[in-house]
């Protein structure tokens, strides 16, 4: 099978998976007998019976479930993703989603950068000093990374770098939230907007706000990455071509950084794509802890309000991100590793 045939096959599957996910989520959120009326999020206690009736009609909750689904599907393709509940003042769900999504992207991108910058060197050191002290130390750091409760670590960072640093009179980082200095909206990504519009003070402030949440977010995944890099480095170092390179009389540096590293980093490159998707979705806890105005925090509010419109958008966009990331990663893998055939 040629690579483009493979991509087309995967794209068809991707559409199928998204369709199936949307059906299941729609059923779970709207049709599952939960005992809570699906329109509960869209009404308030001051409404009269007639007003409630109007809300039910407007959202289409009076129709049979399958009809609701197809109306919803049609609206999705027309770019009308339903209205949110009172927790977001009933604004369109896609507007609420994408307003906050840029913050989540900003956080996840910073998280991925930190993951790669710390995780890969840690993994390489671990492999080169296999079963010696540096390996044990980096192994503990890596394992501690993915054994750490994300909510706890975030609070500890706040406690030390904001509270105690300010108590001791040291320069301290902001504890929570994003920068509140205003910036004109160009790309939607606040940090980038600040740079593009020349508002450096804003960008710097946003950067300071970003450090703790980004580190907190990346701490979990950098452990994984370090372990993967270590394992693949060990695997590569055992192969014949490395012995060959050594027997040619090449120095150990050249063997490791020219010959071994290239092959050992292939899994790391692909894993980074998965991490990006996972960090986007996994940012929820970090956003909650740091009051970061990302989309995960909004989803959490929607969850406790039972706002099915927003949750449908949220889960579908994230499902799409996860399956697309998997596809992209598999394709990149094929380009990087010529041994892989589809």
């Amino acid at each position: 099978m040629r690579i483009y045939e493979y991509i087309i096959r995967r794209l068809i599957l991707l559409i199928f998976v998204l369709f199936a996910v949307s059906v299941v989520i729609f059923y779970l959120l709207r049709g599952f007998p939960t005992g809570i009326a699906p329109w509960a999020a869209y009404i308030n206690s001051k409404m009269t019976a007639d007003q409630i009736e109007a809300v039910i009609k407007a959202h289409g909750f009076d129709r049979p479930l399958w009809e609701q689904y197809f109306y919803w599907l049609r609206d999705i393709f027309q770019g009308q993703w339903g209205l949110t509940g009172i927790w977001a003042q009933g604004r369109p769900a896609n507007e609420v989603f994408f307003n906050h999504f840029s913050y989540t992207i900003e956080l996840a991108v910073s998280g991925v950068i930190l993951t790669v910058a710390i995780g890969i060197p840690l993994g390489i050191i671990s492999a080169l000093k296999n079963n010696k002290l540096p390996d044990h130390v980096s192994r503990v750091i890596a394992l501690a990374g993915y054994s750490t409760p994300a909510y706890w670590f975030g609070f500890m960072l706040q406690l030390v770098f904001f509270y105690y640093f300010s108590l001791w009179g040291l320069p301290h980082l902001p504890s929570s939230g994003a920068s509140t200095l205003g910036v004109s909206r160009i790309t939607g990504l606040p940090l980038l907007d600040g740079l593009l519009s020349g508002n450096l003070a804003f960008s710097w402030d946003e950067f300071l706000h970003l450090i703790l949440p980004a580190f907190s977010l990346s701490f979990i995944s950098l452990g994984f990455l370090a372990r993967i890099v270590r394992a693949s480095m060990l695997e590569v170092l055992r192969q014949d071509y490395i012995t060959m390179a050594r027997s040619k009389g090449l120095t150990e540096r050249v063997v490791i950084y020219r010959h071994a590293l290239k092959n050992a980093l292939i899994p790391a490159v692909t894993l980074t794509g998965i991490f990006f998707a996972a960090l986007l979705g996994g940012a929820m806890i970090t956003e909650y802890v740091f009051s970061w105005p990302g989309v995960g925090q909004q989803a959490l509010r929607a969850v406790f309000q039972g706002d099915s419109n927003f949750l449908l958008v949220y889960s579908l966009v994230f499902a799409a991100i996860i399956v697309t990331a998997n596809l992209v990663v598999d394709v990149i893998y094929a380009f990087l590793d010529p041994r892989i055939k589809y």
């Binding site: 998976v17 394992l143 406790f304 499902a319």
Partner: protein
Amino acid sequence: MKEQQSASAVPKGEWEARLADIKYTLHLFRKNPLVMAGTIISLFFIGLALSANIIVNPNLALPTGYTGGMYPFERKYMWSAGSIINWGPNIAIYKGPESFLLGTDGWGRDLAKMIVLAVPVDLYYAAIITITAAIFGTFLGAIAGYIGGVIDEALLRITDIFFAFPALVLALVFASLPQFGRSLDTLALALVLVWWPPYVRLMRGQVLSEKEKPYVEALKATGAGNTRILFRHVLMNAIYPILVQVTMDFGGVILTFSALMFLGFSPSPALPELGNLAADGYGHIFDAPWVILFPGIVMLIISLAFNLVGDGLRDVLDPRLRR
């Protein structure tokens, strides 16, 4: 296949060979100090979980004898006087007759005792979730890999759908079911539903490579049935990576479970569970930091211990890495 790898003892029979293999594995295991540390800590927490209700009276979680079943206000978010730790200026010091090792939580309870009570809850649910998901996923994966064809394709597509599922949406739906109530069991069910797909992939891959091996052909030639080949022979040889995955997942499940509790999916705010105890400290991070600090540290140690064991198991059981 594993038997040939171990250097010691010429294999005599199936069970002697397996025993020799296990002995060699234990030997490798003992050589690694980190793994031994992980094993000892894990066993300590399992022992603590088993005896928690003897060490600490479980009724302390919901104190009686006070109005409204709650401790008086003077005990909430308090740190004992005379402690060596100085938290800073905003801390409330308890000057009453009792002394609390790790301070009190927002309910006025002794945090150290609540942590002891919380350990069995977390370990129990993490075990239930991991083992259920592993058995379910392994079974499906074995079938998909062994039978192949349409069933394989169908099972893989179903796992794809579950792979793309946000865990939180499932948790929400299950948490709001009136038939079950918002209980720990329904939350566990939600987590099982998002946790089984990796096992399908893992087991399927294992079975695919195992079933091409000569011993399967030999078994077929002797007239062994498919069920017997799959569940007695192929599964036995393919189970090691699953065991490693289970140990590694255990740490992850316990974190996810407590994180959901922390985010507010707990059935009762007074429940002693590590995530729930930490949630009590949300908003009190600067005037009662211990309420988040200590449950989190315990969670970290448990998760780290199991991950160390899993990590060591992987090295020890991987035939390419065992020397």
